[in-house]
Symmetry: C2
Subunit: 88 residues, 2 copies
């Protein structure tokens, strides 16, 4: 596994993927948050933490089993990133 | 001004109000976040930061002028707290 995962920063103990998404205006931040909420419900997975202000969203994804990041965790990361790209 | 403000913790430099709202399930957290988003648009004010997981939401309110917390900032705090009470 590479150190980073497609723009996400890997952190350890416990293993998480962290990424900051920046947006020009609140309307885009809001659209991303709403899309992320729908994706969470669709995939039945929730980020460990979401931390946002008007023009940024920091997303932390934990390993579903709290031990190792799975292919499903990485798919979730990729799909979240795709939402942001759509919003730019 | 009292040290704390109706359940909100006052922090300084810059002055902010911080409060943690805990919920039994994600559905209540989601309802609170959606209501907070509507309130933000209604009052044209946004929390400085919102930090949440499935069963908690940490809200940080900054002073609109970054210097002193105004009556309007405190009203926003009270109205956010009222949303959470409704959700319990």
């Amino acid at each position: 596994m590479t150190d980073d995962f497609q723009g996400w920063e890997r952190r350890d103990k416990p293993p998480t993927l962290f990424r900051r998404f920046a947006f020009a205006q609140y309307a885009q931040t809001r659209a991303f948050l709403d899309a992320l909420s729908l994706l969470s419900e669709e995939m039945r997975r929730h980020p460990q933490n979401i931390n946002f202000g008007t023009t940024y969203v920091n997303v932390t994804l934990g390993a579903a089993d709290d031990a190792t990041l799975s292919a499903e965790d990485e798919l979730f990361a990729r799909r979240i990133a795709a939402l942001a790209e759509r919003g730019e």
